[in-house]
Amino acid sequence: MTDTLPAEPLIGHDVLERVLGAALARGGDMAEVFAEDRQTTGAVLDDRRIEELSSGRERGAGIRVVVGETTGFAHTADLSERGLLDAAEAAAAVARQGGRGRTVGLGSAAAAVPRVAVLPETVAKARKLELLRRADEAARGAGGAVTQVQVGYGDSRRRVLVASSEGVLAEDDQVRTRLNVTCVATGDTGMQTGYESVARTLGFELFDEVDVDEVARLAARRAIGKLAARPAPSGEVPVVLAGGSGGILFHEACGHGLEADHIVKDASVYTGRVGELVASPLVTLVDDGTVAGEWGNFAVDDEGRPAARNVLIENGVLTDYLWDWLRARKEGRASSGNGRRQSYQHLPMVRMTNTFLLAGEEDPGEIVAQTPRGVYVAKLGGGQVNTATGDFVFGTTEAYLIEDGRITEPLRDANLIGNGPEVLRRIDAVGTDFAMTPGTCGKDGQSVPVGCGQATLRITGVTIGGTAA
């Protein structure tokens, strides 16, 4: 860790108290100020050139006022007292019945310092760009079939401050760094793409841990391998997901369905099922915002609540949902530390952090060996779920046939489709080779970084949407 001194608070203590007081001047149950200062660097190498190096800066505050079941929200890029008071007044417009105002007193918060070794802002731009060139060379060196390479780099430092009339006063200083490689390979069968990324809640020390060349070669090998791929099968097949292949299965099959905003609106297949067996007894699912360095990690969530480890499914039994302040209040309980937002311009809602299946006891190789016929998915792409019906899809970006217990021919990309509770019941083997992967989760127009994790596992039957009969 560096001896970084905490920066000046985004908004002074006395200003926060006056703004919260103004937000509640016409009544209301709760007022909150969320201030954010985000600096980003982005770089793109494409078609052998550093095409773009960009820097961005955004700061502002979002103010919400909750009156009964109604939330008023306004945001401003003006962090002066005048700007904040104007936003407070706009947010308070929902409290039109003219209740009694009150004054707000805040305690004190420990100033946040970034939990990283090397702040990206202290690293020369040229060093960041060197990574892109290395990745480009490594990808092109992986095979003559590689015809195009795009490498993206990004780092961000996000300072947040949350203060509310409930006495919350918290700060966080979140640093994230990522690198991604997309390759195109060309052959007689046309073009195929391969993708790989690394993304951690770390500073530039990420690249002491990660071999950029290997990330690039992996993306290249995925594209090249698919040139010889045959169409994926169609219909229901046994599927083995490799450890760290994406973990998006759980994110879609049940993660979203366990978010309390869907639960309280009866818009999830998991509503009212706590205590019931909703998955195979091999499934213990955890959401944990405290895992240092993972993509969905933070010290406090965007409502000022400390990150927490929450067990959602234990040995197949549903134990709890994910909560933010608003939905927890409705149920008379505490938030689980899952209130997140894309930026100060957005209202918080219930979001996952790092969501993962605990490892099992089987040897990953044995799981494949004991699958006579099926599909082996080495890498997943994105997915989507309808929480109300439980139907979800997730896409493959590297997959193979399993024949006689052996991984054989590569398959072209396809989506798999299933129903959450059904698929979770069909997991009959979980391996020991646990790994996490980063992702971006989109919900209701807001994107946040999340982590997903799992070991090798088998689903006895899931529908794969290829073009082969």
Binding site: D46, R49, I50, E51, E52, L53, S54, S55, G56, R57, E58, R59, G60, G62, T70, T71, G72, F73, H75, A77, A93, V94, K125, L129, Q148, V184, T186, G190, M191, Q192, T193, S234, G235, E236, K265, D266, A267, L347, L380, G381, G382, Q384, A388, T389, D391, V393, F394, G395, R412, D413, A414, N415, I417, N419, T463, G465, G466, T467, A468, A469
Partner: protein
């Protein structure tokens, strides 16, 4: 001249010798109302503004270098720092003989009515009232168990673009929308459907229609089961077609073509679709949701024919991709706001309509699957390889009419093959939110995967 354009222009004076500078300034305001069970669940109101600056520095024979920076503020000091930062970033770009900023090309901008001032005068009560009315209508319908969201939203935005290469563009627009998600239930069965309505002002919105759509789409799915796997004709609903066209459009971007990331590359003049397909991008059609007078580099938007009678005619170019391809820009630069740089893309893609309405298309197909919504488009459709595999729900088509509902299936093919297997193009063009219009479309011989 607008205040925003003045701000953009004022910065150009700071360009150093030999340097080219482009300033993009935007500001806007959004209102969003969500209704739930007869109450206002949330009411958001917010103004935002920002600047994106590109600096191009001459680099001699090897070419010029481009740098970019942005900030979510129009504060003078912040904007000045942003210019410095863009200038510094330019030092690190690879010199490129093709890189340049747009120059005025004499093409006149279309005169489009995209600003409806009355939206700004509409009282908040009417907006919350409309959201509540929408929610009430859906909740009151038979077989509806829950309305998970019922939203009203509107926005106004202004964009100014000025460059040392002579670009001066100012546009402003208003937009309003309604959107509702319904959950239908019967016994243990749950199905969902959405409805929406979009326009440029409050009066354009049709809550009755949005509510009816959500109700029909969710209730007709009740009782849905998985279908049997097999090859069949698939009829896509206009909303789905709009989504698919938007993906096809990324293969028509000149940028994807010059970088070897499009399955259409090197195929100009070839028959890429059945002869009934004529595909046009025309942002000057005021009915298009993303209609615009100027593109993301300040050139006039124009009508571009991409496929005519099944033959590939050409691609969409911004200045950089046009230079690389040795052609002229088509006024097709798009950018995602002040925090991003322009790239080539479409705004208002539409297939020339056929003669049949949806019922006519279903009748023409006879037997097959009607798909009302798809999932996993981003994970299952690859505009580079053309591979296409999406989750689908809808209704079987039997004897030319909609029959039993179907869920948890996929439909798959390749985009190349789908374009050559189009059976019917509907005449029911709908200008949906997004970058492409929708209409009913029938495609033969796709793989349905289910049981």
């Amino acid at each position: 001249m607008s205040e925003l354009l003045e701000l953009a222009e004022s910065l150009l004076a700071r360009a150093r010798g030999g340097e080219e500078v482009e300033v993009y300034v935007a500001r806007g305001h959004e209102t969003e109302v969500r209704a739930y069970e007869g109450e206002i669940e949330s009411l958001s109101s917010a103004t935002s503004a920002g600047v994106g600056i590109r600096v191009l520095q001459p680099g001699g024979e090897a070419g010029a270098r481009l740098g970019f920076a942005w900030a979510g503020s129009l504060d003078q000091d912040v904007v000045a720092k942003t210019l410095e930062e863009a200038r510094d970033n330019a030092r690190f770009a690879t010199p490129d003989p093709h890189v340049r900023l747009a120059r005025p090309d004499g093409h006149p901008p279309a005169d489009l009515e995209l600003w409806q001032a009355d939206l700004l005068e509409t009282p908040a009560d009417r907006k919350t009232g409309l959201a509540l009315d929408l929610e009430r209508q859906v909740r009151a319908a038979d077989q509806i168990r829950q309305v998970s969201s019922a939203d009203y939203g509107d926005e106004w935005s202004e964009v100014a673009l000025a460059s040392t290469t002579g670009i001066r563009a100012f546009t402003r627009r208003t937009a309003a929308y309604l959107s509702v998600s319904a959950i239908a239930g019967e016994g243990g069965d749950t199905q969902t459907g959405t409805g929406f309505s979009v326009g440029r002002t409050f009066a354009d919105l049709d809550a009755d229609r949005a509510a009816a759509e959500a109700v029909v789409r969710s209730t007709r799915m009740l009782g849905a089961t998985k279908a049997r796997s097999g090859r069949c004709a698939v009829v896509f609903d206009p909303r789905v077609v709009s989504t698919i066209l938007a993906i096809v459009s990324s293969a028509l971007s000149g940028e994807a073509v010059v970088k070897g990331r499009s399955f259409f590359a090197d195929r100009v003049g070839e028959q890429v679709a059945v002869p009934s397909v004529t595909l046009v991008d025309d942002p000057t059609d005021v009915r298009a949701f993303a209609a615009a007078a100027y593109d993301g580099e300040g050139l006039a938007c124009r009508r571009n024919v991409l496929v005519e009678k099944g033959e590939l005619e050409g691609f969409l170019f911004d200045t950089l991709s046009a230079e690389r391809a040795g052609t002229a820009p088509t006024g097709s630069a798009v950018r995602g706001g002040y925090a991003s740089t322009p790239g080539a893309g479409c705004r208002a893609l539409v297939l020339a309509p056929g003669d049949l309405d949806q019922a006519g298309v279903l009748e023409g197909v006879g037997e097959g699957l009607f798909v009302q919504s798809v999932t996993g488009v981003h994970s299952g459709v690859n505009p580079v390889s053309g591979d296409f595999s999406v989750g689908a729900e809808g209704l079987m088509i039997r004897g030319g009419s909609l029959a039993e509902p179907v869920r948890e299936v996929t439909v798959a093919s390749t985009l190349q093959r789908m374009l050559l297997s189009i059976l019917h193009i509907g005449g029911d063009v709908e200008w949906l939110p997004g970058i492409a219009a929708g209409q009913t479309l029938a495609i033969g011989d796709m793989q349905l995967s289910g049981n």
